[in-house]
Amino acid sequence: MATPQVKRQLAFVFDLNKCLGCQTCTISCKTLWTDQPGMEYMWWNIVNTMPGRGTPRDRDQMGGGFDGEGHAKAGVLPSARDFGEAWEFNFDEVFYGGKGQSAYLHPSRPGSKGTDDEAPDWGPNWDEDQGAGEYPNSYYFYLPTICMHCANPACLAACPREAIFKRAEDGIVLIDEDRCDGYRFCMEACPYKRVYFNPQRLISQKCVMCFARLEQGVAPACVRQCPGRVRHFGYLDDPDSDVYKLVNVWKVAIRLHPEYGTEPNVYYVPPLAPPRFDEHGEIDEEHPRIPTEYLRSLFGPDVDGALATLKQEMEKARQGEKSELIDTLIAYRWQDMFVPFVQDPGELDRPAVKA
């Protein structure tokens, strides 16, 4: 299937040097989009600790995407346990059972009776902050993922019902819920594993880039709510947008797993790391704490150039020189990060919210 043609493409840049792993993006998405029955286990936006197994667990080993010649590759259909089920808690016992002083809150798997042998053994952020390496050279960073709204979406190509489409005006990839028959080939084919199945409605669902907000000039919830100013957003061809500058001009924002062949439109500023300590406990400036080879395995060979530019510009800024790149990444003016989607949603006329 030919790559879908679009007039313009909206894109994200996530600066991994600033991500705190606070999951505010995750919760802003959850409360806005996935709070309905059948969506309990869904996290259209998720932040994982890397190195780590990801969400769903071991997603980098699940296949999908395209091979070097652009041919579709088979993928795995994850289970709800792989994603991390929506746990249940013994609220009644602790809050209303008169055992407030003796019982404590503990999670159980959905549908279980809450006994110890049914305790969860996996969750959407189970390996948080574990990372890799040995003290004093242990390391980790946070990796937020959403639907990548790929230029060459594997989900769209896989669907036998043509239920998935890419909007020509902005490149958003959407699932037509009326056409979707719940076959889940899209879930298998997406190499980033960002499509979920709604077992109540028997359809597949995923991030919609908050298209309804965009149409009102409001940035996506995950972008606007990020307290760390991690998320830049805008049109890739708009010279005034941060994404244009970071992706096209400075080339410090690069794709996750470019070898998957889907040409994702979420870009990442790769993480810099402090230097290692050598065996004598001395600082070894030659070797970064996060092995560059590991970063290449995630972001491909372009990571070297991106890190070099970042270091060079940081050094300039340290010397008191002006660095437009560093200023852009610092994001002194919050709204500059998502031009032109700067409308405050609180100032829009909206229908009254039901209590």
Binding site: M1, A72, K73, A74, G75, F83, P160, E162, D181, F185
Partner: protein
């Protein structure tokens, strides 16, 4: 395949183990996997090439009508029934009865443009079968149909399913077949084994239309 007329009541005929079914002659319909190269997307072809599917090799079919409704009793072997979608990587067992709406509608590929076909799709996790209108792969439209009903039972390693509908399909959605006693039509069948993740075009089907003689 003969569809004999019977005086039996709807409540009897919808029951796969009813004595009423003794009146109908059983036909053995041979099923085989749909060709993998016919699957509509490269992903489906790539992911199912060399992976076994369509293992339901035959179906025992009986059919009766009572002047108002037509009943198909479908029986096929399935050692492990999948009655519901208990996890997001699971699929339910299903079966379909397919009719051409024009004489030369192709069976392979679910009809073609302006050559529609109509399926009555039973799925183990649904309360009622659905009406499916199609004019080629990927064009299928599933609709609820108040005239469709089914009773399903799994016993002794076999599914026993009766699917019924009004003969004329008057209250059914658009693109549905109308059957008339005293005439001949064509019919085909398909089975999906949910436990093997079979869905969409990944199924066992009867590769040729069968004649369907509806007794006056």
């Amino acid at each position: 395949m003969q569809v004999k007329r019977t005086d039996a009541r709807t409540e009897e005929l919808i029951d796969p183990s009813s004595e009423a079914w003794k009146k109908a002659r059983s036909a053995t319909v041979v099923l085989s996997p749909t060709p993998v190269e016919m699957q509509p997307t490269e992903y489906v072809r790539a992911s199912w090439k060399g992976r076994p599917y369509g293992g339901a090799s035959s179906m025992a079919v009986r059919a009766l009508h009572n002047g108002a409704e037509i009943f198909f009793r479908l029986q096929w072997n399935d050692e492990s029934p999948d009655g519901k979608i208990a996890d997001i990587n699971q699929f339910a067992d299903a079966a379909a009865v397919l009719f051409p709406l024009v004489d030369d509608a192709p069976l392979l590929g679910m009809g073609a443009k302006d050559k529609p076909v109509n399926a009555w799709l039973w799925r183990a996790d649904w309360e009622r079968p659905k009406n499916v209108a199609a004019q080629g792969m990927g064009t299928t439209q599933r609709r609820d149909d108040p005239a469709l009903a089914a009773t399903a039972r799994h016993a002794r390693g076999r599914w026993h399913v009766v699917v019924s509908r009004s003969l004329n399909g008057k209250s059914s959605p658009a693109g549905t077949v109308s059957l008339t006693p005293g005439t001949a039509s064509k019919v085909a069948f398909a089975v999906w084994q949910g436990g093997n993740q079979e869905r969409a075009g990944i199924k066992a089907f009867s590769p040729d239309w069968q004649d369907l003689q509806i007794e006056a």
